[in-house]
Protein backbone atom coordinates (compact mmCIF):
# COMPACT_ATOMS: atom_id res chain seq x y z
CA UNK A 1 0.00 0.00 0.00
CA UNK A 2 1.63 3.25 -1.12
CA UNK A 3 1.00 6.29 1.06
CA UNK A 4 -1.01 9.09 -0.46
CA UNK A 5 -0.67 12.79 0.31
CA UNK A 6 -2.53 14.32 3.20
CA UNK A 7 -4.43 16.59 0.80
CA UNK A 8 -5.44 13.59 -1.33
CA UNK A 9 -6.65 11.84 1.79
CA UNK A 10 -8.75 14.86 2.75
CA UNK A 11 -10.09 15.08 -0.80
CA UNK A 12 -11.36 11.50 -0.46
CA UNK A 13 -13.73 12.40 2.36
CA UNK A 14 -16.95 13.64 0.75
CA UNK A 15 -19.10 16.36 2.25
CA UNK A 16 -21.66 14.89 4.62
CA UNK A 17 -19.53 11.88 5.56
CA UNK A 18 -19.72 10.45 9.07
CA UNK A 19 -16.19 10.41 10.49
CA UNK A 20 -15.23 8.72 13.77
CA UNK A 21 -12.21 10.17 15.58
CA UNK A 22 -10.44 9.48 18.86
CA UNK A 23 -9.97 12.37 21.31
CA UNK A 24 -6.83 14.22 22.34
CA UNK A 25 -5.49 11.45 24.57
CA UNK A 26 -5.69 8.84 21.86
CA UNK A 27 -3.92 9.65 18.59
CA UNK A 28 -6.23 12.19 16.95
CA UNK A 29 -5.52 12.91 13.27
CA UNK A 30 -5.15 16.66 13.79
CA UNK A 31 -3.13 17.18 10.59
CA UNK A 32 -5.94 15.51 8.63
CA UNK A 33 -8.50 17.75 10.34
CA UNK A 34 -6.51 20.78 9.16
CA UNK A 35 -6.37 19.32 5.64
CA UNK A 36 -10.13 18.83 5.71
CA UNK A 37 -10.49 22.48 6.66
CA UNK A 38 -8.20 23.49 3.77
CA UNK A 39 -10.25 21.44 1.34
CA UNK A 40 -13.41 23.20 2.61
CA UNK A 41 -15.25 20.09 3.75
CA UNK A 42 -18.90 20.71 4.63
CA UNK A 43 -21.63 18.87 6.50
CA UNK A 44 -19.35 16.36 8.25
CA UNK A 45 -20.95 14.23 10.92
CA UNK A 46 -18.28 13.66 13.56
CA UNK A 47 -18.26 10.88 16.14
CA UNK A 48 -16.11 11.34 19.23
CA UNK A 49 -14.75 7.99 20.39
CA UNK A 50 -15.83 8.31 23.06
CA UNK A 51 -15.32 12.09 23.50
CA UNK A 52 -14.23 14.96 21.28
CA UNK A 53 -11.31 17.33 21.54
CA UNK A 54 -9.17 19.76 19.64
CA UNK A 55 -9.69 18.38 16.11
CA UNK A 56 -13.47 18.45 16.48
CA UNK A 57 -13.41 22.00 17.78
CA UNK A 58 -11.37 23.39 14.88
CA UNK A 59 -13.52 21.53 12.32
CA UNK A 60 -16.65 23.02 13.90
CA UNK A 61 -15.12 26.48 13.97
CA UNK A 62 -14.20 26.23 10.30
CA UNK A 63 -17.79 25.39 9.39
CA UNK A 64 -17.06 21.82 8.26
CA UNK A 65 -19.47 20.13 10.65
CA UNK A 66 -23.22 19.51 10.61
CA UNK A 67 -23.45 17.03 13.48
CA UNK A 68 -21.41 15.83 16.45
CA UNK A 69 -22.15 12.61 18.22
CA UNK A 70 -20.10 12.48 21.38
CA UNK A 71 -20.01 11.92 25.12
CA UNK A 72 -18.28 15.24 25.78
CA UNK A 73 -16.28 17.92 24.00
CA UNK A 74 -13.44 19.52 25.87
CA UNK A 75 -9.91 20.82 25.54
CA UNK A 76 -8.89 19.12 28.79
CA UNK A 77 -6.78 21.40 30.97
CA UNK A 78 -7.57 24.31 28.60
CA UNK A 79 -11.25 24.09 29.45
CA UNK A 80 -14.42 23.93 27.42
CA UNK A 81 -14.19 23.52 23.64
CA UNK A 82 -14.96 27.10 22.55
CA UNK A 83 -16.22 26.60 19.00
CA UNK A 84 -18.28 23.57 20.05
CA UNK A 85 -19.86 25.61 22.86
CA UNK A 86 -20.60 28.48 20.50
CA UNK A 87 -22.16 26.14 17.95
CA UNK A 88 -24.43 24.59 20.59
CA UNK A 89 -25.48 28.05 21.73
CA UNK A 90 -26.23 29.10 18.16
CA UNK A 91 -27.82 25.77 17.31
CA UNK A 92 -25.63 25.61 14.21
CA UNK A 93 -24.47 22.04 14.83
CA UNK A 94 -26.69 19.13 15.72
CA UNK A 95 -25.43 17.47 18.90
CA UNK A 96 -26.20 13.82 19.62
CA UNK A 97 -25.23 13.41 23.24
CA UNK A 98 -24.08 10.00 24.40
CA UNK A 99 -22.11 8.51 27.28
CA UNK A 100 -18.65 7.00 26.79
CA UNK A 101 -19.49 3.29 27.07
CA UNK A 102 -22.50 3.80 24.77
CA UNK A 103 -20.22 5.07 21.99
CA UNK A 104 -17.92 2.10 22.51
CA UNK A 105 -20.87 -0.27 22.54
CA UNK A 106 -22.39 1.09 19.34
CA UNK A 107 -19.05 0.67 17.59
CA UNK A 108 -18.54 -2.79 19.08
CA UNK A 109 -21.92 -3.82 17.68
CA UNK A 110 -20.73 -2.74 14.27
CA UNK A 111 -17.40 -4.50 14.83
CA UNK A 112 -19.26 -7.68 15.63
CA UNK A 113 -21.78 -7.38 12.80
CA UNK A 114 -24.83 -7.35 15.05
CA UNK A 115 -27.65 -4.81 14.78
CA UNK A 116 -27.50 -3.81 18.47
CA UNK A 117 -25.75 -4.44 21.75
CA UNK A 118 -26.98 -4.01 25.32
CA UNK A 119 -25.45 -1.77 27.99
CA UNK A 120 -26.14 -1.60 31.69
CA UNK A 121 -26.70 1.70 33.47
CA UNK A 122 -27.84 4.88 31.67
CA UNK A 123 -31.54 4.28 32.41
CA UNK A 124 -32.88 7.36 34.18
CA UNK A 125 -30.50 9.65 32.33
CA UNK A 126 -32.05 12.30 30.10
CA UNK A 127 -29.75 11.02 27.38
CA UNK A 128 -32.26 8.23 26.73
CA UNK A 129 -35.33 10.33 25.82
CA UNK A 130 -33.09 12.45 23.56
CA UNK A 131 -31.88 9.40 21.65
CA UNK A 132 -34.90 7.98 19.81
CA UNK A 133 -32.49 5.49 18.19
CA UNK A 134 -31.86 3.94 21.63
CA UNK A 135 -34.31 1.42 23.11
CA UNK A 136 -35.06 0.30 26.64
CA UNK A 137 -36.48 -3.25 26.71
CA UNK A 138 -37.08 -5.86 29.40
CA UNK A 139 -34.01 -8.08 29.75
CA UNK A 140 -35.06 -11.32 28.00
CA UNK A 141 -32.92 -13.31 30.45
CA UNK A 142 -34.40 -11.80 33.62
CA UNK A 143 -35.81 -14.51 35.84
CA UNK A 144 -38.32 -12.33 37.61
CA UNK A 145 -39.66 -8.91 36.88
CA UNK A 146 -38.92 -6.59 34.03
CA UNK A 147 -35.26 -5.65 34.54
CA UNK A 148 -35.16 -2.88 31.92
CA UNK A 149 -31.95 -2.71 29.89
CA UNK A 150 -30.69 -0.31 27.25
CA UNK A 151 -30.14 -1.55 23.70
CA UNK A 152 -27.90 0.52 21.44
CA UNK A 153 -27.92 0.32 17.64
CA UNK A 154 -24.77 -0.54 15.70
CA UNK A 155 -22.95 2.59 14.52
CA UNK A 156 -21.04 2.24 11.26
CA UNK A 157 -19.21 5.48 10.43
CA UNK A 158 -18.35 6.11 6.80
CA UNK A 159 -14.77 6.80 7.85
CA UNK A 160 -12.56 6.23 10.82
CA UNK A 161 -9.56 8.55 11.10
CA UNK A 162 -6.63 8.53 13.50
CA UNK A 163 -2.89 9.11 13.65
CA UNK A 164 -0.63 6.09 14.12
CA UNK A 165 3.02 5.94 15.03
CA UNK A 166 3.98 4.14 11.83
CA UNK A 167 2.86 2.10 8.87
CA UNK A 168 4.78 -0.81 7.38
CA UNK A 169 5.34 -1.81 3.74
CA UNK A 170 2.04 -3.69 3.70
CA UNK A 171 -0.14 -0.91 5.05
CA UNK A 172 -0.41 -2.32 8.56
CA UNK A 173 -0.34 0.49 11.12
CA UNK A 174 0.90 0.57 14.70
CA UNK A 175 -1.07 2.30 17.46
CA UNK A 176 0.28 0.48 20.50
CA UNK A 177 -2.14 0.24 23.38
CA UNK A 178 -4.59 2.74 21.86
CA UNK A 179 -6.86 -0.11 20.88
CA UNK A 180 -9.93 2.13 20.51
CA UNK A 181 -8.33 3.01 17.17
CA UNK A 182 -8.69 -0.67 16.24
CA UNK A 183 -12.36 -0.58 17.21
CA UNK A 184 -12.77 2.52 15.05
CA UNK A 185 -11.06 0.76 12.15
CA UNK A 186 -13.17 -2.39 12.51
CA UNK A 187 -16.45 -0.53 12.89
CA UNK A 188 -15.99 2.00 10.09
CA UNK A 189 -16.63 1.33 6.42
CA UNK A 190 -13.31 2.98 5.47
CA UNK A 191 -10.33 3.95 7.57
CA UNK A 192 -7.85 6.78 6.97
CA UNK A 193 -4.61 6.67 8.92
CA UNK A 194 -1.97 9.36 9.10
CA UNK A 195 1.43 8.20 10.36
CA UNK A 196 4.68 9.68 11.55
CA UNK A 197 6.65 7.44 9.18
CA UNK A 198 6.57 4.37 6.97
CA UNK A 199 8.99 1.57 7.84
CA UNK A 200 10.12 -1.54 5.99
CA UNK A 201 8.87 -4.96 7.00
CA UNK A 202 5.66 -6.47 8.31
CA UNK A 203 4.45 -5.71 11.84
CA UNK A 204 2.34 -8.85 11.79
CA UNK A 205 5.43 -11.05 11.49
CA UNK A 206 6.89 -9.62 14.70
CA UNK A 207 5.39 -11.02 17.92
CA UNK A 208 6.45 -7.86 19.75
CA UNK A 209 4.86 -5.42 17.30
CA UNK A 210 1.79 -7.40 16.23
CA UNK A 211 -0.24 -6.79 19.44
CA UNK A 212 -0.19 -3.03 18.84
CA UNK A 213 -0.81 -3.27 15.09
CA UNK A 214 -3.98 -2.94 13.03
CA UNK A 215 -4.01 -5.09 9.91
CA UNK A 216 -4.04 -3.39 6.50
CA UNK A 217 -7.29 -5.28 5.94
CA UNK A 218 -9.04 -2.40 7.65
CA UNK A 219 -6.92 0.47 6.31
CA UNK A 220 -8.16 2.31 3.23
CA UNK A 221 -5.31 4.77 2.93
CA UNK A 222 -2.16 5.89 4.72
CA UNK A 223 -0.64 9.37 4.56
CA UNK A 224 2.57 10.55 6.16
CA UNK A 225 2.03 13.52 8.47
CA UNK A 226 4.94 14.24 10.75
CA UNK A 227 3.76 15.36 14.17
CA UNK A 228 0.31 14.67 12.81
CA UNK A 229 -1.27 14.40 16.27
CA UNK A 230 0.11 17.74 17.49
CA UNK A 231 -0.91 19.41 19.82
CA UNK A 232 -1.96 16.03 21.24
CA UNK A 233 0.71 13.62 22.44
CA UNK A 234 2.02 10.73 20.32
CA UNK A 235 2.54 7.80 22.71
CA UNK A 236 6.12 8.17 24.02
CA UNK A 237 7.36 9.91 20.85
CA UNK A 238 6.27 13.44 21.59
CA UNK A 239 4.39 15.08 24.43
CA UNK A 240 1.26 17.15 24.29
CA UNK A 241 1.70 20.89 23.70
CA UNK A 242 -0.54 22.53 26.31
CA UNK A 243 0.72 26.02 25.48
CA UNK A 244 -0.48 25.62 21.90
CA UNK A 245 -3.90 24.45 23.09
CA UNK A 246 -4.12 27.24 25.66
CA UNK A 247 -3.38 29.84 23.00
CA UNK A 248 -6.01 28.27 20.78
CA UNK A 249 -8.54 28.29 23.62
CA UNK A 250 -7.84 31.98 24.17
CA UNK A 251 -8.07 33.01 20.54
CA UNK A 252 -11.07 30.80 19.73
CA UNK A 253 -13.24 32.44 22.35
CA UNK A 254 -14.50 34.70 19.56
CA UNK A 255 -15.28 33.85 15.96
CA UNK A 256 -12.79 36.50 14.84
CA UNK A 257 -10.06 35.17 17.06
CA UNK A 258 -10.71 31.69 15.75
CA UNK A 259 -10.50 32.95 12.17
CA UNK A 260 -7.13 34.53 12.85
CA UNK A 261 -5.89 31.35 14.46
CA UNK A 262 -7.15 29.30 11.53
CA UNK A 263 -5.44 31.53 8.96
CA UNK A 264 -2.16 31.22 10.76
CA UNK A 265 -2.24 27.58 11.81
CA UNK A 266 -4.18 25.68 9.15
CA UNK A 267 -4.94 27.65 6.01
CA UNK A 268 -1.50 29.12 5.46
CA UNK A 269 0.45 26.20 6.80
CA UNK A 270 -0.17 22.94 4.97
CA UNK A 271 1.58 19.98 6.53
CA UNK A 272 5.10 19.31 5.31
CA UNK A 273 4.21 15.93 3.89
CA UNK A 274 1.50 17.45 1.73
CA UNK A 275 3.76 19.83 -0.15
Amino acid sequence: MDPISLEAMAAGVPDGAMVAMPPDNSLPAVALAKALIRRGARGLRLVGVPVSGFATDILIGAGCVAEVQTSAASLGEAGFAPRFSAAVREGSVRVLDATCPAIHTMLQASEKGVPFMPLRGVIGSDLVPHRPDWRVVPNPFAEAGEDPILLLPALRPDFGAFHAAMADSHGNVWVGRRRECATIAHASARCLVTVERVVEGDFLLDERLAPGAISATYVTAVAVAERGAHPAAMLDEYAADPAYVAEYARMARTAEGFRAWLEREALNRPALAAE
Binding site: F80, V88, C100, R120, G121, G124
Partner: protein, 250 residues
Protein backbone atom coordinates in the same frame (compact mmCIF):
# COMPACT_ATOMS: atom_id res chain seq x y z
CA UNK B 1 4.57 21.70 59.57
CA UNK B 2 2.94 24.73 57.93
CA UNK B 3 -0.88 24.81 58.17
CA UNK B 4 -2.99 22.79 55.76
CA UNK B 5 -4.01 24.45 52.52
CA UNK B 6 -7.65 24.04 51.48
CA UNK B 7 -6.67 21.49 48.81
CA UNK B 8 -4.77 19.45 51.41
CA UNK B 9 -7.74 19.53 53.76
CA UNK B 10 -10.04 18.36 50.96
CA UNK B 11 -7.68 15.56 49.99
CA UNK B 12 -7.53 14.39 53.61
CA UNK B 13 -11.34 14.57 53.90
CA UNK B 14 -11.75 12.49 50.75
CA UNK B 15 -9.17 10.00 52.03
CA UNK B 16 -11.21 9.55 55.21
CA UNK B 17 -14.32 8.89 53.12
CA UNK B 18 -12.44 6.28 51.07
CA UNK B 19 -11.39 4.55 54.29
CA UNK B 20 -14.87 4.73 55.87
CA UNK B 21 -15.32 1.22 57.29
CA UNK B 22 -19.12 1.44 57.00
CA UNK B 23 -18.92 1.78 53.19
CA UNK B 24 -18.36 -1.08 50.71
CA UNK B 25 -14.63 -1.91 50.50
CA UNK B 26 -12.47 0.14 48.12
CA UNK B 27 -9.83 -2.13 46.64
CA UNK B 28 -9.72 -0.57 43.19
CA UNK B 29 -10.36 3.11 42.54
CA UNK B 30 -10.26 4.96 39.24
CA UNK B 31 -9.71 8.69 39.01
CA UNK B 32 -10.56 10.76 35.97
CA UNK B 33 -8.34 13.19 34.17
CA UNK B 34 -9.38 16.47 35.77
CA UNK B 35 -9.32 15.37 39.42
CA UNK B 36 -6.05 16.21 41.17
CA UNK B 37 -7.58 16.39 44.68
CA UNK B 38 -9.29 12.96 44.45
CA UNK B 39 -6.05 11.59 43.02
CA UNK B 40 -4.11 13.07 45.94
CA UNK B 41 -6.64 11.50 48.32
CA UNK B 42 -6.13 8.06 46.76
CA UNK B 43 -2.35 8.31 46.89
CA UNK B 44 -2.64 9.44 50.52
CA UNK B 45 -4.65 6.32 51.34
CA UNK B 46 -1.94 4.22 49.70
CA UNK B 47 0.90 6.02 51.48
CA UNK B 48 -0.94 5.59 54.79
CA UNK B 49 -0.34 1.89 54.21
CA UNK B 50 -3.72 0.74 52.93
CA UNK B 51 -3.70 -1.50 49.88
CA UNK B 52 -5.53 0.30 47.08
CA UNK B 53 -5.24 -0.27 43.36
CA UNK B 54 -5.39 3.12 41.71
CA UNK B 55 -6.12 3.54 38.02
CA UNK B 56 -5.24 7.08 37.14
CA UNK B 57 -6.84 7.73 33.79
CA UNK B 58 -4.74 10.79 33.07
CA UNK B 59 -1.37 9.21 33.85
CA UNK B 60 0.69 9.64 30.70
CA UNK B 61 2.77 6.51 31.34
CA UNK B 62 1.63 3.50 33.28
CA UNK B 63 -2.00 3.76 32.31
CA UNK B 64 -3.26 0.35 33.38
CA UNK B 65 -5.40 -0.28 30.32
CA UNK B 66 -4.30 -2.23 27.27
CA UNK B 67 -7.64 -2.66 25.49
CA UNK B 68 -8.26 0.99 24.79
CA UNK B 69 -10.61 3.43 26.46
CA UNK B 70 -13.45 0.97 26.74
CA UNK B 71 -11.52 -1.10 29.29
CA UNK B 72 -12.34 1.33 32.12
CA UNK B 73 -16.04 0.88 31.46
CA UNK B 74 -15.72 -2.87 31.00
CA UNK B 75 -13.86 -2.99 34.30
CA UNK B 76 -16.75 -1.19 35.99
CA UNK B 77 -19.24 -3.43 34.19
CA UNK B 78 -17.44 -6.48 35.56
CA UNK B 79 -17.79 -5.12 39.08
CA UNK B 80 -14.02 -4.82 39.49
CA UNK B 81 -14.06 -1.10 40.23
CA UNK B 82 -15.12 -0.22 43.76
CA UNK B 83 -15.07 3.55 43.81
CA UNK B 84 -15.22 6.38 41.31
CA UNK B 85 -15.35 10.17 41.51
CA UNK B 86 -17.86 12.33 39.70
CA UNK B 87 -18.69 15.99 39.61
CA UNK B 88 -21.12 18.03 37.57
CA UNK B 89 -21.99 21.44 36.23
CA UNK B 90 -25.11 21.07 38.37
CA UNK B 91 -25.75 18.71 41.29
CA UNK B 92 -29.15 18.60 42.93
CA UNK B 93 -30.51 17.49 46.29
CA UNK B 94 -31.35 14.02 44.97
CA UNK B 95 -27.72 13.65 43.83
CA UNK B 96 -28.68 13.90 40.17
CA UNK B 97 -25.78 15.12 38.03
CA UNK B 98 -25.96 17.46 35.06
CA UNK B 99 -22.89 17.51 32.83
CA UNK B 100 -24.80 18.46 29.68
CA UNK B 101 -25.83 22.07 30.21
CA UNK B 102 -28.66 24.44 31.02
CA UNK B 103 -31.44 25.83 28.90
CA UNK B 104 -33.03 23.85 26.13
CA UNK B 105 -31.37 20.49 25.41
CA UNK B 106 -28.48 20.05 24.59
CA UNK B 107 -27.52 23.11 26.61
CA UNK B 108 -28.59 26.15 24.61
CA UNK B 109 -28.10 28.48 27.61
CA UNK B 110 -24.81 27.18 29.03
CA UNK B 111 -23.28 24.10 27.49
CA UNK B 112 -21.12 21.93 29.77
CA UNK B 113 -18.70 19.51 28.08
CA UNK B 114 -21.03 16.52 28.16
CA UNK B 115 -21.92 13.47 30.21
CA UNK B 116 -18.64 11.53 29.73
CA UNK B 117 -19.12 8.12 31.33
CA UNK B 118 -21.24 9.39 34.23
CA UNK B 119 -24.54 7.82 33.09
CA UNK B 120 -22.89 4.41 33.31
CA UNK B 121 -20.29 4.69 36.05
CA UNK B 122 -22.64 6.22 38.64
CA UNK B 123 -24.84 3.12 38.40
CA UNK B 124 -22.22 0.40 37.93
CA UNK B 125 -19.73 1.30 40.65
CA UNK B 126 -20.66 0.42 44.26
CA UNK B 127 -19.50 3.78 45.58
CA UNK B 128 -19.18 7.25 44.11
CA UNK B 129 -17.72 10.25 45.87
CA UNK B 130 -19.06 13.47 44.39
CA UNK B 131 -16.48 16.21 44.33
CA UNK B 132 -16.98 19.82 43.34
CA UNK B 133 -14.94 22.65 44.85
CA UNK B 134 -17.35 25.41 43.80
CA UNK B 135 -20.14 25.46 46.38
CA UNK B 136 -22.74 27.93 45.11
CA UNK B 137 -26.45 28.02 44.31
CA UNK B 138 -25.42 27.95 40.64
CA UNK B 139 -23.88 24.50 41.03
CA UNK B 140 -25.90 23.01 43.90
CA UNK B 141 -29.41 23.39 42.55
CA UNK B 142 -32.88 22.24 43.67
CA UNK B 143 -33.31 20.28 40.47
CA UNK B 144 -30.79 19.84 37.67
CA UNK B 145 -31.84 21.23 34.28
CA UNK B 146 -30.95 17.91 32.64
CA UNK B 147 -30.02 14.57 34.18
CA UNK B 148 -26.76 13.18 32.84
CA UNK B 149 -26.72 10.54 35.55
CA UNK B 150 -29.50 9.89 38.06
CA UNK B 151 -28.76 9.98 41.78
CA UNK B 152 -31.11 7.11 42.55
CA UNK B 153 -33.04 4.56 40.50
CA UNK B 154 -36.43 2.94 40.97
CA UNK B 155 -36.51 -0.62 42.31
CA UNK B 156 -35.95 -3.11 39.51
CA UNK B 157 -33.44 -0.94 37.66
CA UNK B 158 -30.00 -2.54 37.83
CA UNK B 159 -27.76 -0.36 39.96
CA UNK B 160 -24.76 -1.32 42.09
CA UNK B 161 -24.42 1.79 44.20
CA UNK B 162 -24.87 5.50 44.61
CA UNK B 163 -23.17 8.58 45.97
CA UNK B 164 -21.50 8.09 49.33
CA UNK B 165 -20.86 11.78 49.89
CA UNK B 166 -20.49 15.16 48.25
CA UNK B 167 -17.33 17.06 49.09
CA UNK B 168 -17.25 20.78 48.27
CA UNK B 169 -15.09 23.73 49.13
CA UNK B 170 -17.35 24.46 52.12
CA UNK B 171 -18.38 21.14 53.61
CA UNK B 172 -18.91 17.40 53.41
CA UNK B 173 -22.44 16.09 52.75
CA UNK B 174 -23.41 12.46 53.27
CA UNK B 175 -25.96 11.01 50.85
CA UNK B 176 -28.72 8.60 51.87
CA UNK B 177 -29.90 6.88 48.68
CA UNK B 178 -32.94 5.42 50.46
CA UNK B 179 -34.24 8.89 51.22
CA UNK B 180 -32.54 10.48 48.19
CA UNK B 181 -31.32 13.28 50.46
CA UNK B 182 -28.09 14.85 51.63
CA UNK B 183 -27.22 15.59 55.24
CA UNK B 184 -24.43 17.85 56.41
CA UNK B 185 -21.57 15.80 57.85
CA UNK B 186 -18.91 18.41 58.53
CA UNK B 187 -18.11 22.04 57.91
CA UNK B 188 -14.73 23.22 56.70
CA UNK B 189 -13.04 25.82 58.93
CA UNK B 190 -14.86 29.15 58.92
CA UNK B 191 -18.12 27.76 57.50
CA UNK B 192 -21.49 27.78 59.30
CA UNK B 193 -24.69 25.82 58.76
CA UNK B 194 -26.50 29.01 57.83
CA UNK B 195 -23.73 30.02 55.46
CA UNK B 196 -23.85 26.64 53.76
CA UNK B 197 -27.65 26.83 53.53
CA UNK B 198 -27.35 30.20 51.83
CA UNK B 199 -24.84 28.84 49.32
CA UNK B 200 -26.82 25.67 48.57
CA UNK B 201 -29.75 25.58 46.21
CA UNK B 202 -31.12 22.29 47.54
CA UNK B 203 -32.51 21.35 50.94
CA UNK B 204 -30.49 19.10 53.19
CA UNK B 205 -30.57 17.77 56.76
CA UNK B 206 -28.32 19.18 59.45
CA UNK B 207 -28.39 17.78 62.96
CA UNK B 208 -27.36 19.79 65.99
CA UNK B 209 -23.66 20.43 66.39
CA UNK B 210 -22.29 19.69 62.96
CA UNK B 211 -18.56 19.09 63.52
CA UNK B 212 -15.73 20.79 61.74
CA UNK B 213 -14.01 18.85 58.97
CA UNK B 214 -10.90 17.48 60.69
CA UNK B 215 -7.60 19.07 59.80
CA UNK B 216 -5.09 16.77 58.14
CA UNK B 217 -2.73 15.25 60.72
CA UNK B 218 0.96 16.06 60.58
CA UNK B 219 1.55 12.58 59.18
CA UNK B 220 -0.99 13.19 56.44
CA UNK B 221 0.46 16.57 55.57
CA UNK B 222 3.96 15.12 55.42
CA UNK B 223 2.76 12.36 53.13
CA UNK B 224 0.85 14.76 50.89
CA UNK B 225 3.79 17.10 50.52
CA UNK B 226 6.31 14.29 50.06
CA UNK B 227 5.49 10.93 48.50
CA UNK B 228 2.00 11.86 47.30
CA UNK B 229 3.38 14.88 45.48
CA UNK B 230 6.13 12.67 44.01
CA UNK B 231 3.49 10.40 42.49
CA UNK B 232 1.39 13.27 41.19
CA UNK B 233 4.11 15.41 39.64
CA UNK B 234 4.17 13.81 36.16
CA UNK B 235 0.39 13.96 35.79
CA UNK B 236 -0.54 17.14 37.61
CA UNK B 237 2.47 19.45 37.39
CA UNK B 238 0.45 22.66 37.74
CA UNK B 239 -1.43 21.38 40.79
CA UNK B 240 1.79 20.28 42.47
CA UNK B 241 3.44 23.61 41.79
CA UNK B 242 0.46 25.55 43.10
CA UNK B 243 -0.40 23.48 46.17
CA UNK B 244 2.88 21.86 47.18
CA UNK B 245 5.25 24.41 45.69
CA UNK B 246 7.05 21.67 43.79
CA UNK B 247 8.14 21.59 40.16
CA UNK B 248 8.94 18.52 38.12
CA UNK B 249 12.63 17.90 37.53
CA UNK B 250 13.68 19.18 34.11
Amino acid sequence: MSPAKPEERLAAAVARLILDPSAPPARHVAVGAASPIPAAACYLVQKLGHPLRLSLLARPAGNPFTEGTRELFDLAGQGRLDLFFLGGGEIDGQANLNLVGTGEWPGRAVRFPGSFGSAFMYMMVPRTILFREEHSPRVLVPRVAHVSAPGTSPPGVFRRGAAQALVTGRCVFRFDPGRARFSLESLHPGETVDGVRAATGFEFDAGGGVPETPEPTDEELALLRGPVCDEMLPTYPEFCARVFGRKAAA
